[in-house]
Every structure is written in C-alpha cells, then in structure tokens.
Symmetry: C2
C-alpha cells in the first residue's frame, strides 16, 4: 500500500486548539494530514468550497455524522465507516456516488497518529468506492468537549436516467431481499465496548455497496426500493418503508440471515437482531418476477454472497411489518421505540 | 413571524439518548422539530438522501462544522451562523446557493426548547438566503461528550456561466475591497464568554451575502476573488490569497474599517483586529477599473454599506501581505500562527 501520510508524527504529537485556528497550524494540519491523504485536483482548488462540472440530470445528496464509540473496532474504524455510510446512502438513492465533503470535529489532545490512521482509512474506503473527497472543514474543541473525533460526511452522486428508487414504491407482490447477514456491525461494536463485557470474533461488515447497486440497477429494469438498514436495524427500516408506501410487509423468521454469533450476543444482551444496526448490508425490494435474477446477481459479489429473500409486501392500505415466526404464528414488528445502544455509527 | 415549531415543549423536556436511536423517538424528533421547521418537498422525500434535478453547468460544493461557544450571542446563535456560513462559502465560490444538508450532534440533556430555537433560526436564515434544507442527520451523544450542540452544514449551488472566481486569480493592479467592518463577529463572541470579563454593545454581523455576490457578479464582468475572512481574519485570508496567486498584497491601515468597539476590545485583549474572525463581511478583489462601480453597488446593500477599498495587489512573484501603517512605514502581516480564540464559529 502506498504511504499517504508523509509526516512521521510521534506518539506524543497531539491536536492542539491552534490546529483549529484557521491560521498557520490549521494550514499545516491540512497539508500534512488531509491533503497528504485525500489530495486530488478538486480539493486542490484551495477555496472555501470546490467547483465541478455537472451534466443535466438528477443528483442525489446525503449527509451523515459519525460519532461511533470506540473509534476503532474489529473490521473498521470511524473513518471508513464515515465514507462507506454516505456512499451507501447515495447508492440507496439509486445514485452513482461521486464526491464527498468531510467535516471533522477534533478533541484537543487527540494523537496525530490516530487522526492519520483514520484519515488513511477514509482515503482507502473512498478509493474502493471510486469517490473523491473534494472539500472539507476541521474544528478543534477543548479536551472534554467531544470524544476524540466526530466526522460528518456528505456526498453527491448522479442518478442515471430511468432509475426511480423510493421507499414509497414498495408494492404488493414485491419481495424483500436482504443482501447479507443481519446484526454484524452492531454486535462488533458492542463487543468492542469494554463495559458490555463480552467478546465475539465478528468483525464489522462496513463496506461500500455502490458497485453492487450500480450493477443491479443496470441489469434489472424495475427495482423499487433500496435501503441500508443502519440505526434501528432491519425492523425499523422496514417500518419506515411500510409507512412511506402504506403497505404491509411480512418477514419470514426462518429466512432471516442471522449468524450464530449475532444470535448468541442477542441472547446475552437481551436484544432482538431485527433492531441491531447494520452497515454492510442493504434491503432490496422489487417485483417477484425479478427476484431470482437479483439474488443471482447479488450472490456473485463477496459483500452480498449471503443475499436471500426475507419477506414480501403482502397488502396495501395499512402500514405494518409482521414476522411469521418459526412456529408458524405471526407477531407485529414495531419500530424500535427507544434506544438499543447509543453511538453505533 | 409564523410559528414553525408546533410542539410546545416544557423547559424540562430534554434530548435523550433514544432520540438518536433511529427508532420511534428519532422519528418523533425529526417530525416535531426538524420537519416542523424545515419542511419542503425535497426533505419530504423521506429517504436516506434527496434527489433533485440539475441542469448542465458547474456546481459548487462546500461544508463547514459549527462548534461556536456560547450557543447564543448578541446578533445570532449557532443555527443562523451555520446556515449563513455555508451560504457565504458557496457565494464566495461565485455560486447561487441552492440546497443545504445539516448534520446535528446533540448532547444528552440539551433542552428541546433550545434545539427548537436554534432550528427556528436556521430556517429563518435559510429563508432569507433563498436556500432549502433538503436532507439531514441527527446523532445524540452522552452528557459530557459534546457541548450542547454541534452543527455541520454542507451546501451545493450553481455557478452561472462565465463566472470564474478563484483565489489564484488575484492579479497585479487589482484592488482589495472589504465589504464591511472588521472584527465584529469575533468581538461579539468574545464578549459573550463570561471568562473574558468584558462587555460590548457589538452584535455579531452574521448574515448571508449571496444576494450581494449575485448582484455583483451580474453587474461586473470581471471579479477575480471573493472570500469571507472568517477564522484567521482578514490577515490570514489575504495570506491565503497571496499564496494561491503568488502575489504581494498591500493593505492601507488608515483605510481599514475597524469600529471603535473592536479597537477597544483588541486593546483590552491584546489582539490584532486583522486576525479576528468575521462572519458578515467579504473581501472582493477585482481590477481597479471596476472598483468604483463595485463599491457603489456594495454600498447600496445594508449589509455592505461600509464597503471600502482597503488595499491592492502590488506585485507578483512573491506571496506576501504588508500593511502600510498610519505612520507611513510598512510591516509584514503574516498568517495567524497559533490560536487567537477557539470556537468562534
């Protein structure tokens, strides 16, 4: 891997309030950490923003702030999570993600080596997703006024002609495909929290899904809904879709791809996998006649090799999500009410 | 003024961790606070992002995070500051600002009435600037892990054909116009800090400048640089421009519009007005032959009625900023080295 951080900081080099001044220390930080990693011609415009050409069409625009705790966990850190999260939000709008903007809040005392590692991960994730980080901002707050680092990523992308993805398009007869295992990211974060006192071998599945959505949308004429079930989990996300489309969605418990490690953690912590936050999976809702083709396509990608049909849209005129249990009876899956675990992303 | 916040919260209603869960409490907060204030058809798309039509051309994109302390100060609060700041960054790229995205980090325990007041100010500022807040995200962190509220605003805008604004375009023979009084926002924030122990009648001049830049760019064929001298002040901003264009800029101390209240505060605090952060002013750099017309135009707007010529680009081949003092000698104006006052925006 090429070295993107040419300044060899010592472990004792930390973020100072002066790095947020807008003056010389800010410029050094931008040059030595951010530009060293992200450098590209748009970022190099060196203005309060950047200017790029657009073609006539439709643009998707999304923003997300990341406050995950801890900053590093099995399978990723706040940096690649922040890039992948916004890339996936754009991808789930049906867009080809193009440009990202980043806003950093740094805590006085944050080791510069930590910042470098996070920024390096962001650039690696951006490279994999074929997006550029084109503009940014950095603020520094006093020690104790944030928690190491918070990152906002916003992004824009182009929606190809003919693509029409929206939660309100879920229609009776559609099937619900889940692109991969449920609960993996959430359980990886929980096990990284010392206070919860359990360990798992699970790694976060944080990854960009835009290559997959682009292939899917090129191949299948009529995908209705794409959505990454992050905070609130699959249960809450499906409730949002049911409400937007005013439809009833039925899940098949036996079909839900819940890994044993997630089941075990859920039992220990007394939580429902349907509400655990995910990062590296998405829900695909489309007419049943396209389901087989979509599954075959998804299963060709390593990130979605476990894609499977988990439910269907069974009625319109009422916004509900139900689960057909393994015992054959049905229970309502409401939206997550309060908080399951804060700062999962 | 119309009521935009229909939910009458009590002083004891506060942000809870559950408001960041992604579940029902998050949805209630979005509906009762954010949608109640910002509501517009793009926001109502209810997706992970929003999709809008674009025409062929050039787009400006900018992001800024706001961590100002205290949250409320004479003349504004973190909410209108966050909207105006990004609107002005886009305006200084030569763009017509169009859409904003907001990312909130809320501290557990923040009064909901405080959040409502801030969100209300954001919508009022967005309305004045003719921009829409079209997508957003909210995270909640535990009490003590941020400082009330941090806000990221990013934004996109359209750069009209023929407009070419860039710091690198500053050219020998150009004049430097400052659109208004220097140091006002910074001094207003400083006086709002109890710890600094001084008071001033000055109010922050935070305002959107895009109506002015649009008029300026419609009227004058060849504006070279626009820049709002926020963190680091006029001194640092001119150093950035000098470096980008590799030119020498000379300021005329006698011409600098420094109000007496800013002079007094600077003497008490031992700081240089050239490094105090500004919010409601901009620097305009353009060929001398257009200067009179630009000044007349700027002076017609209440926000820039004190516009005045403060310097000129005197040489190329060296990137320096100098000040011709009131005594007739010259001193170098370097970039601000460290930190003058943290969390001014």
């Amino acid at each position: 891997m090429k070295t993107v951080c040419p300044v060899p900081y010592n472990a004792s080099d930390t973020i100072l309030l002066g790095h947020g001044s807008g003056g010389r220390m800010s410029h050094q930080l931008i040059r030595d950490v951010f530009r060293a990693a992200f450098g590209n011609p748009l970022l190099d415009q060196d203005h309060d923003g950047c200017v790029f050409a657009v073609e006539a069409g439709r643009m998707a625009y999304s923003t997300d702030t990341f406050v995950v705790h801890p900053l590093f966990f099995k399978g990723g850190n706040i940096g690649d999570l922040a890039v992948n999260g916004t890339v996936n939000d754009l991808a789930c709008c049906g867009a080809v993600p193009r440009y990202l903007a980043t806003g950093f809040i740094l805590e006085e005392g944050l080791p510069l080596t930590t910042l470098q590692a996070i920024v390096h991960s962001m650039q690696a994730a951006a490279g994999k997703a074929h997006v550029s980080i084109v503009t940014g901002d950095t603020k520094v707050v006093e020690h104790g006024k944030c928690d190491g680092i918070f990152i906002n990523t916003s992004g824009v992308g182009i929606v190809p002609e003919g693509i029409n993805i929206a939660p309100s398009r879920a229609t009776v007869g559609d099937v619900v495909i889940c692109s991969g295992n449920i609960g993996v990211h959430g359980v990886a974060i929980m096990s990284a929290r010392d206070s919860l006192g359990f360990e798992t071998a699970l790694e976060s599945d944080t990854t960009a899904l835009n290559h997959i959505t682009q292939q899917l949308l090129c191949t299948i004429a009529d995908v209705h809904v794409l959505r990454d079930p992050t905070r609130g989990g699959v249960g809450t996300t499906l409730n949002e879709i049911a409400a937007a489309a005013n439809v009833a969605i039925e899940l098949d418990e036996a079909a839900l791809p819940v890994p044993n490690a997630v089941k075990a953690a859920s039992e220990i912590l007394g939580i429902d996998p349907l509400y655990i936050a995910n990062e590296g999976i998405m829900l695909v809702i489309l007419p049943e006649r396209h389901a087989e083709q979509a599954l075959r396509l998804l299963q060709r990608f390593v990130e979605s090799k476990n894609a499977t049909t988990v439910g269907r849209v069974v009625a319109s005129g009422r916004a509900t999500v139900t689960l057909k249990t393994v015992y054959g009876n049905h229970r309502t899956v409401p939206m997550l009410a309060g908080e399951q675990l804060p700062r999962i992303c």
